[in-house]
C-alpha cells in the first residue's frame, strides 16, 4: 500500500507501507548504523522517533527471541517493546535468514502495531534532515484519517519505570539507577559488576536511601522537561558523602544541568554507532554509540567541572568530570553488555570508586 511521509516543512516522500498500517507522527531522526534495528527500535532513547535507517537493506536477519534473562531483563532488545513510532527504510527485506530468528521484522512490527515505510530514498531524506535539522513528520495513508501533529513532551516520564525495582539484593555495594529510559544492555553492564542495583523512576527522591553511588541513565527527548529529576540530582550532589555519580547520555545532560551547565539541541543529533570521541588532552580516541539530540554547551562548563571528552567530528562535548569529586558524565553508553568494548572503562571506573 502506498504511504506518504510528510515533513513539517512540507516536503513529501512516498513509499510502500509494511508492518502495521496506521497513520502516525513523530520526530524524524536518521541513524547510520548498518545493523541493530531491533535494538534501536526498542531503545527507550528512540521513543517517539520516526527512525530512518541510512543503510538501505533492513530486515535481513529477522528478529531474535526477546525473552527474560536471569535479571528479568529482555534479551536481544533494549526494552520489552518498540519505542519508535515508525521505521523508514529503502529496501525492506521480507525474507530473513538467521539461525536464531523468531519472526520477521514485519511480523514483529505488526504485533507491536508499528508502521514501516520502504522504498524511500533514505539518503536523500537523511540529507534533508542534515540540512534542515531534525523535524517532526507524519506518516499519512491515503484512505485513513490524517494523524495529529507530533507534539514534543516529556518522553522520559513515559519510558521510565513506575516503581523502584531492586536487582540482586544483598551485595556489598548498592547503586541507585535513576531510570530515564534505561537500555537493558546498560543495566546489564551494571549488574555484571556484582553490585545491588536499585532502579528508581525518573522523579523518585532516593536521597534518603542507603546507597553507594548514583547512575543516571540514558533516555529520550529534551532534558529541560526534567526539572524534577535535576532537583533530585542536585540534592544528591549536595550530600556531604560525595558519592560517585555517573551519568550517561541523557544522564550526562541531566548531571550537567544539575551542575549549572547549559544544554542545546544539536542540528540533527548524534544517532550512530560510530561517533568518534577523544579523551581530552590525550592521544586516546574511542568509537562510541550514541542516540540523542542534545549536547552540553562547552562555555558553560566552569569551575571544578572540566571537559572529559570531545567529539572528533563536530567538536561537541562528549563528557564532563569534576576535578575534586567522583562525578562523571559521558554522552555515550557502551555498545553492548556482553562484549568488552573500548569504553567499558567508564563503568569500571565508576564501580571502583564506590
Amino acid at each position: 500500500m502506498k504511504v506518504s511521509l510528510i515533513l513539517a516543512d512540507g516536503t513529501c516522500f512516498e513509499g510502500e507501507a509494511f508492518g502495521y498500517q496506521q497513520p502516525t507522527s513523530g520526530e524524524l531522526v536518521f541513524n547510520t548504523s548498518m545493523t541493530g534495528y531491533p535494538e534501536l527500535m526498542t531503545d527507550p532513547s528512540s521513543d517517539g522517533q520516526l527512525l530512518v535507517m541510512t543503510y538501505p537493506v533492513i530486515g535481513n536477519y529477522g528478529v531474535q527471541p526477546m525473552e527474560k534473562d536471569e535479571y528479568g531483563l529482555v534479551t536481544n532488545a533494549e526494552s520489552d517493546h518498540i519505542h519508535v513510532n515508525a521505521l523508514i527504510v529503502s529496501d525492506y527485506s521480507e525474507y530473513y535468514s538467521h539461525w536464531n530468528a523468531k519472526e520477521s521484522l514485519e511480523d514483529w512490527m505488526i504485533r507491536e502495531k508499528v508502521v514501516g515505510i520502504s522504498g524511500i530514498d533514505t539518503r536523500e531524506l537523511s540529507k534533508h534532515i542534515r540540512l534542515h535539522g531534525c523535524m517532526a513528520a507524519r506518516v499519512v495513508f491515503e484512505d485513513m484519517p490524517k494523524p495529529a501533529e507530533y507534539s514534543y513532551t516529556n518522553l522520559i516520564s513515559k519510558v521510565s519505570c513506575t516503581e523502584p525495582i531492586t536487582y540482586q539484593p544483598g551485595k556489598e555495594k548498592t547503586v541507585v539507577v535513576l531510570d530515564c529510559g534505561i537500555r537493558a544492555s546498560v543495566l546489564r553492564c551494571l549488574l555484571q559488576q556484582d553490585v545491588t542495583v536499585v532502579r528508581v523512576p525518573w522523579n523518585y527522591d532516593f536521597t534518603s536511601m542507603d546507597y553507594d553511588g548514583l547512575f543516571i541513565s540514558n533516555g529520550p527527548g529534551n532534558p529541560s522537561y526534567c526539572g524534577e529529576t535535576i532537583a533530585i540530582i542536585q540534592k544528591a550532589m549536595a550530600d556531604k558523602s560525595e558519592k560517585p555519580v555517573l551519568g550517561i547520555d541523557m544522564g550526562c545532560l541531566l548531571l550537567g544541568l544539575a551542575a549549572g551547565m547549559d544544554t542545546y539541541k544539536l542540528k540533527f543529533g548524534h544517532h550512530t554507532h560510530n561517533q568518534p570521541v577523544q579523551l581530552a588532552g590525550t592521544d586516546r580516541c574511542y568509537i562510541t554509540t550514541q542516540n540523542h539530540n542534545y549536547a552540553i554547551r562547552e562555555e558553560s562548563i566552569v569551575g571544578h567541572w572540566k571537559v572529559y571528552m570531545k567529539n572528533l567530528h563536530d567538536g561537541s562535548v562528549e563528557g564532563i568530570y569534576h576535578t575534586r569529586k567522583p562525578w562523571v558524565g559521558t554522552m555515550f553508553h557502551s555498545e553492548s553488555d556482553v562484549i568488552d568494548t573500548d569504553v567499558s572503562f567508564i563503568y569500571d571506573d565508576f564501580i571502583s570508586k564506590l
Binding site: F13, F30, T32, S33, M34, T35, G36, E39, T54, Y55, P56, V57, N60, Y61, Q64, N76, S90, D91, S93, Y95, Y96, S97, H98, W99, N100, D121, T122, R123, E124, S126, K127, R130, F268, T272, H273, N274, P276, Q278, D283, R284, C285, I287, L312, H313, E335, S336, V338, I339, D340, T341, D342
Partner: protein
C-alpha cells in the same frame, strides 16, 4: 616507534609482476603510500620491476629501480641508497616475504634501516601458523585447529587425528598457494607433496566447509587507537578462497551483536599482535551458532584492503603509511569530508559486491573447480542500494557475455546438482538455472551452503524475470514493473529480451526502445556519493555511483562542455590489466593539466584510476553502453576518450558514435575500419600492404580448400561467442578436424577465421601516436620469441637489437601508410611479421596497446600524454628523441601463474596465458634479460639442468646455449632425441627417460620429484596435441614443484646466454633516471 623528524628517505617495496593472488591492488596501495610520503616531503625510493604500474611512473616516487623484489637486489639498493626506513606492507606477500628474509639476515640492522609500521616480529607472528595460534591462544581467541608438519608422514598422522575432510595450507604462501581440501589419504598424499615444494612447513587443519566467511579491515595507530573500517561477508561459504568468492560489504546476515563480537575479537588480535597501520582478519563463522574461528590475519595491505578502501572511501593504504610514520589517527584528515578526522568507522548507505573474474577457458586442461587456492585473475566491484541491483551490475561488469543473473544465453549444466555442489566459475548461473527450473531454496542451500538470505534475494530476480516474461510487447510494460526491474538491477537489454522485443528488433534496437520508454516514463538512475559517513556530514565527495533506488542526484551537473570522460578498462583479465590502468591515469592527468575536468568511469577496485584523487569525478560503475550513455547524458561532456582503456571502451565506439557522442581522437568509423577484418584487409590490399593469407570460412570444405592453397600450419580462430574456446595452431588435417570439433560446429552463424601461420618469423610491434593521419611519435619493439607466441606472452625488447635497418624502414613506411589511410588521431598499435625483409601486417588496433607503458618508460616519452593532447586538439611538439637515441635496452618479460592453475599445461601458444609482466633496463640486453627473468620468478640454476629441446631447428637453435652451459660446469640431463643430438655435437649429457618410457632409468619425473633438477627447458616441437601431451607431465611437474621452466627455445637461449656470460653480482644497480 618511528620519529618522523628523523626520516628523510624511505624505501618502498612493490609486488613485482601481476600474478594470480597478487595483482593490481598493490599498485594502488603502493601509489597511495608514495603519495602519503610525498606529502611529508620524504624522499622515496621504489623497487618494482612492474613497469606498467602507475607507481613506477614519473613523479610518483623520487627514484625507481626496475629490479627484482628479492633479498639480493633489495640489499644492493639499500647499500646504495641508504634509506632511513623501509615499508614492507604495500607490496603484497612478495614484499613481506622479502622483508622478513632481510630482517632475519640482519640487513636492516646492518644498514640501520627502520621498518615503519607493523614490526617484522609481528609479521612473523601472523605468518607462521604455529606462532600465530600460540599468540592468539594467549588472548583466548579461537583459531582453526591445525597441525604444522614438516614431513609427509606427519601430515598423514595429523589428518588421521583430525579426521577427514582436512585442508592443507603452506606457510608463507600468498593467496593460498599449494593449499586445498583432501577428503581422503590419497588426495592428501598428492596435495601435500605439492605444498612441500613451496614451503618447508605445511598445515593440516580440520575443514570447516559451509561456515560463513567474514572479513574485517582493522586500523590501529601507535597510541592504541583502533577502528574497524569495513566488514565484509563472503557470498560463498568457507571452502572457497576469499579471492575466489563473491564478497558483499557490509555484512548482510549477521546481527549487530554478532558483528560487535567479531569486531571486538579483531581489535583484540590487532592490539595483541602489535599492528601499527592496517591489517585484515578473516573469520569462519558458524551459521548455526555464534561459534567462530580466526582463519588468518594479514599484517599488510591486501586485496581485501583495496576492496575495503574502494567500498567505503576510506584510503587504507594512505592512512597506514601515515600511521607508520608515527601519526595518530585523529591527526589525519578524512580525505572525503575534508572536515573530520581519520579516526572514525565508515558508515555505508549502499551495498557493495565484489565478483572475481576468471579466465579459465584460456588454459588447456585446467581444473575448473573453485577451492581454497586462488585462480581468478581480476575482479569488479559494483555499488547499488539493493543486493539484486549490485549482483546484476557486478555480473555484467565481469564482461564475459553475461547480462546479469537472468536473461543469459542458456548455459546447460549436464548435472545441475553437481554444478551447484562443486563450485566452478559458472556456479552463479547454475543457481539461476536451478531457480528457473523450480528448485526450492532449501534444496539449493543444501547443495551450495550459500546463506538462504542471498538465495532468496536472487529468487526475487528470477521472480521479476518471470513477471517480465509474462508481458507481451513493450506497450504492455507498466511503469511500476519497469521501475521494479530497474531497481533490481535489470539492464535495458535484459528487459528487452525478457519481454521479447530483442528477438524481434535485435539487441541494439531493443536496448534503445527500452531506454526511450524509460525516459518517457521518467524511470531514471540517480547519482549518489560515497561519503564515508552515510550522509551524516556534508561531503564534497567526487566518488559516485548510480542507482535506481533513489529519487534525487547528490551532485549538480555543470553542462559547460568543460569535462572529458575517460573510459576505464574494467576487470583485469588475461590480456588487459594494469597497463591500461596506467594509460587511463595518464590520460586523466593530461586532461586535468590541460584545464578540463576529468571524469573516469571504471568498475575495478584494484586500480589507481578508481582512486577518487586522480579525477574530478569518479563514476564507479558499469562500462556498458547503457550506463556510459547515462553518464554522458548527465555530464554532457566536451568529449569521450575510448582509446586508453583497452578493448572494452574501444568496442563501445561505434554505438556511442551512433548516439552522436563526441568521441575524441580517431573517428569511430575509422576504428571500425580497423576492427572489421574484411574492411581492414581490403584497405591493406588497396594500399599494397602484405598480410598473411586468411579467410573467414563457414564449412569444412571451404577450410580444406583454403588450406590446400596456403598449406599447413594454419592458425584457427573459432567463434568466441559459441564456444569460448581458444585459438589454436593446427599442423595437419587430423588436428584441424579434432580442434574444430572441440571448438564448435562450423556454420554460417559461427564462421571460423583460418589464416596461414608463418613459421620462424619475427614479430615486431609498432606503438605510435598519430595526429590527423601523421605519425608524431612511435616505438618499434621486437619479440625475442618467433611468431606463434602471443604478443602478450612474448618477451619484448626495446629498442630492437636484431632487426635489419631495412626491416625497420619498411615497418615505418607501412605504419605511416596505415595511419594516413585510417586518419588516425591518437594512440595505435600495429603488429608485424618480419621474415628476411618481408613484412606482413598481423593486426592493427586504433587504441593504446599493452606495451604503451613499457615503451613510454624506456623511451622516457609519455606516449599517452602526447596522444591525449592530440585527442584534445592541442598543438603537440614532435619529440626530438627517438628510439635510435636510446643507449640501453628494456626487456619486457611475462609472468605466468601456472602454479595456481592446477592441471593447466604451462606451454605458450597463440592464445595469451600470462597474467602480468615486468620491464627491466640494462646496458645491454643480457643485463636486462637477466633482471627481468629473475623478476618473474626464474632463478639462476645451481647445477643440474634438464633439456628437451623440440624440433631439429629448435635443437640447433639451442646448441650454443647447451655448449655454454657445459662450459660453465652445469650438468646436463636430456631426453632421448635431445641427448642424442647433444652427444653428436660433443656436448656431454646424461640421458633421462620420458614418463612414457617406463622401466628405464633415470626417469625425468623422478629426478624432478627428488629435487635433483634446478631448471627445466622443455620445448614442444609444435603445438600439436600429441607433442603437448608428451611433455605435459614434465612441464606440469616442474610448475608444481616450483622448478623454473622455459618452453621456448629463443627465450631459453637468451636467458642461458645471459646467466652464463654475466655474474649476477656484476649487474649495476641503476635507477631509472640513471639510464640516460
Amino acid at each position: 616507534m618511528a620519529d618522523i623528524n628523523k626520516i628523510n628517505k624511505v624505501l618502498l617495496l612493490g609486488s613485482g609482476a601481476l600474478k594470480i593472488g597478487e595483482a593490481g591492488e598493490f599498485d594502488y596501495s603502493g601509489s597511495q603510500a608514495l603519495k602519503a610520503l610525498k606529502e611529508e616531503n620524504i624522499e622515496t625510493v621504489l623497487i618494482n620491476p612492474n613497469i606498467a604500474t602507475v607507481q613506477t611512473s614519473e613523479g610518483v616516487a623520487d627514484k625507481v629501480y626496475f629490479l627484482p623484489v628479492t633479498p639480493f637486489f633489495v640489499e644492493k639498493v639499500i647499500e646504495k641508497e641508504r634509506p632511513d626506513a623501509i615499508l614492507l606492507a604495500f607490496g603484497g606477500q612478495t614484499a613481506l616475504n622479502c622483508g622478513v628474509s632481510l630482517y632475519q639476515a640482519g640487513v636492516f640492522e646492518k644498514y640501520n634501516v627502520q621498518v615503519l609500521g607493523t614490526q617484522v616480529q609481528a609479521i612473523m607472528d601472523t605468518e607462521d601458523r604455529e606462532l600465530f595460534i600460540e599468540r592468539l591462544d594467549e588472548i583466548g581467541v579461537e583459531t582453526i585447529k591445525s597441525h604444522a608438519v614438516e614431513s609427509m608422514e606427519d601430515a598423514r598422522a595429523a589428518a588421521k587425528e583430525l579426521g577427514y575432510p582436512v585442508i592443507i595450507r603452506s606457510a608463507y604462501a600468498l593467496g593460498g598457494l599449494g593449499s586445498g581440501f583432501c577428503d581422503n589419504e590419497e588426495e592428501l598424499n598428492k596435495l601435500a607433496e605439492k605444498s612441500f615444494a613451496f614451503s618447508p612447513q605445511i598445515l593440516v587443519e580440520k575443514s570447516l566447509k559451509g561456515w560463513k566467511e567474514i572479513e574485517f579491515e582493522i586500523v590501529r595507530d601507535k597510541n592504541d587507537n583502533c577502528i574497524i573500517v569495513c566488514s565484509m561477508e563472503n557470498f560463498d561459504p568457507l571452502g572457497i578462497h576469499t579471492g575466489e568468492s563473491i564478497v558483499v560489504a557490509p555484512t548482510q546476515t549477521l546481527t549487530a551483536h554478532e558483528v560487535q563480537k567479531l569486531c571486538e575479537i579483531g581489535t583484540r588480535v590487532a592490539r595483541h599482535v602489535g599492528i601499527v597501520g592496517e591489517c585484515n582478519i578473516q573469520f569462519a563463522f558458524d551459521p548455526q551458532s555464534e561459534e567462530y574461528r580466526v582463519i588468518e590475519v594479514n599484517a599488510r595491505l591486501s586485496r581485501s584492503s583495496a576492496l575495503a578502501s574502494k567500498a567505503t572511501g576510506y584510503p587504507l593504504a594512505f592512512v597506514a603509511c601515515k600511521l607508520g610514520l608515527g601519526y595518530s589517527l585523529y591527526e589525519l584528515k578524512n580525505s572525503i569530508t575534508k572536515t573530520t578526522t581519520d579516526f572514525f568507522e565508515p558508515s555505508v548507505d549502499y551495498v557493495v559486491c565484489k565478483i572475481p573474474r576468471w579466465d579459465l577457458s584460456k588454459f588447456h586442461g585446467v581444473d575448473k573447480e573453485l577451492g581454497s587456492s586462488m585462480k581468478s585473475v581480476g575482479e569488479v566491484m559494483s555499488i547499488g542500494r539493493s543486493f539484486e541491483e549490485v549482483i546484476q551490475k557486478g555480473i555484467r561488469m565481469i564482461n564475459q557475455g553475461m547480462h546479469g543473473f537472468v536473461e543469459n544465453k542458456t548455459l546447460t549444466f549436464k548435472n545441475l546438482d553437481q554444478a551447484l555442489k562443486e563450485p566452478t566459475d559458472k556456479r552463479m548461473f547454475a543457481i539461476s538455472q536451478a531457480l528457473e527450473s523450480g528448485y526450492s531454496i532449501d534444496k539449493i542451500y543444501e547443495l551450495t551452503k550459500i546463506d538462504k538470505w542471498f538465495l532468496n534475494r536472487l529468487k526475487k530476480i528470477t521472480d521479476i524475470s518471470a513477471e517480465l516474461h509474462a508481458v507481451n510487447g513493450i506497450e504492455n510494460l507498466s511503469k511500476d514493473l519497469l521501475k521494479k526491474a530497474k531497481r533490481a538491477g535489470f539492464s535495458d537489454f535484459q528487459i528487452s529480451r525478457a519481454i521479447g522485443i530483442e528477438q524481434k528488433v535485435g539487441s541494439e534496437q531493443g536496448i534503445l526502445e527500452i531506454r526511450n520508454l524509460r525516459k518517457e516514463l521518467g524511470v531514471l538512475p540517480y547519482v549518489k556519493q560515497i561519503d564515508t559517513l552515510g550522509g551524516e556530514y556534508a561531503a564534497q565527495a567526487n566518488y559516485l555511483y548510480m542507482t535506481y533506488n533513489g529519487c534525487a542526484h547528490d551532485i549538480p551537473f555543470m553542462n559547460d562542455k568543460k569535462s572529458i570522460i575517460v573510459l576505464g578498462s574494467g576487470a583485469y583479465r588475461i590480456g588487459s590489466s594494469v597497463e591500461f590502468d596506467w594509460c587511463g591515469v595518464q590520460a586523466l592527468n593530461t586532461v586535468r593539466k590541460e584545464g578540463y575536468r576529468n571524469i573516469m568511469i571504471n568498475c575495478n577496485p584494484e586500480t589507481v584510476s578508481t582512486d577518487y584523487d586522480v579525477c574530478d569525478r569518479l563514476f564507479f560503475d558499469e562500462l556498458s553502453f547503457e550506463r556510459v550513455m547515462d553518464v554522458i547524458e548527465l555530464e554532457n561532456p566536451y568529449g569521450v576518450i575510448v582509446s586508453t582503456g583497452g578493448q572494452i571502451p574501444n568496442n563501445l565506439a561505434m554505438r556511442l558514435d551512433g548516439m552522436n557522442v563526441p568521441i575524441l581522437g580517431t573517428s569511430a568509423k575509422c576504428i571500425d575500419n580497423a576492427e572489421d577484418r574484411e574492411k581492414f584487409s581490403a584497405m591493406l590490399d588497396r594500399i599494397g600492404v602484405d598480410q598473411p593469407e586468411w579467410s573467414e570460412l563457414t564449412s569444412m570444405d571451404d577450410i580444406k580448400e583454403f588450406i590446400d592453397r596456403v598449406g599447413f600450419p594454419v592458425l584457427v580462430r573459432p567463434s568466441y561467442v559459441l564456444s569460448g574456446a581458444a585459438m589454436n595452431v593446427c599442423s595437419n588435417q587430423d588436428e584441424l578436424e579434432r580442434f574444430l570439433q572441440l571448438a564448435a560446429d562450423v556454420s554460417k552463424q559461427h564462421p571460423v577465421v583460418v589464416s596461414r601461420f608463418i613459421e620462424h618469423a619475427k614479430e615486431v610491434e609498432m606503438d605510435a601516436v598519430a595526429k590527423d593521419g601523421e605519425i608524431i611519435a612511435y616505438a618499434i619493439s621486437e619479440h625475442i620469441e618467433f611468431a606463434g607466441v602471443h604478443s602478450g606472452d612474448a618477451t619484448i625488447q626495446f629498442p630492437p637489437q636484431k632487426l635489419y635497418v631495412e626491416t625497420v624502414k619498411r615497418i615505418k613506411r607501412i605504419s605511416r601508410q596505415i595511419a594516413k589511410e585510417l586518419h588516425i588521431s591518437g594512440p595505435f598499435n600495429i603488429q608485424y611479421l618480419a621474415k628476411e625483409n618481408d613484412i606482413k601486417v598481423i593486426e592493427c588496433n586504433l587504441r593504446a596497446s599493452r606495451s604503451f607503458p613499457f615503451v613510454s618508460k624506456v623511451l622516457k616519452i609519455n606516449l599517452i600524454e602526447i596522444a591525449t593532447k592530440v585527442m584534445l586538439g592541442i598543438p603537440v611538439e614532435v619529440p626530438e628523441k627517438s628510439l635510435f637515441d636510446v643507449d640501453y635496452v628494456g626487456i619486457k618479460a611475462s609472468q605466468f601463474s601456472f602454479n595456481r592453475l592446477q592441471k593447466a599445461d604451462p606451454v605458450l601458444g597463440v592464445d595469451m596465458a600470462s597474467t602480468g609482466e615486468v620491464g627491466c633496463l640494462g646496458d645491454d640486453s643480457r643485463y636486462a634479460i637477466l633482471e627481468s627473468m629473475l623478476s618473474v620468478g626464474h632463478r639462476i640454476p645451481a647445477k643440474n639442468i634438464l633439456l628437451s629441446t623440440g624440433s631439429a631447428k629448435q635443437k640447433a637453435d639451442m646448441l650454443d646455449a647447451a655448449k655454454l652451459l657445459g662450459e660453465k660446469g652445469y650438468t646436463l640431463y636430456a631426453t632421448g632425441g635431445t641427448s642424442k643430438y647433444l652427444t653428436e655435437n660433443g656436448v656431454q649429457n646424461t640421458r633421462v627417460y620420458w614418463p612414457s618410457e617406463e622401466g628405464q632409468h633415470p626417469q625425468a619425473l623422478e629426478m624432478l620429484h627428488n629435487k635433483e633438477i634446478d631448471m627445466v627447458v622443455n620445448i614442444p616441437k609444435d603445438l600439436t596435441q600429441h607433442e603437448l601431451s608428451n611433455g605435459y607431465k614434465i612441464r606440469r611437474a616442474a610448475v608444481d614443484l616450483n622448478i623454473p621452466l622455459i618452453t621456448n627455445a629463443r627465450l631459453a637461449d637468451a636467458f642461458i646466454n645471459a646467466f652464463c656470460t654475466l655474474d649476477v653480482n656484476d649487474i649495476p644497480i641503476k635507477s631509472w633516471d640513471e639510464f640516460k
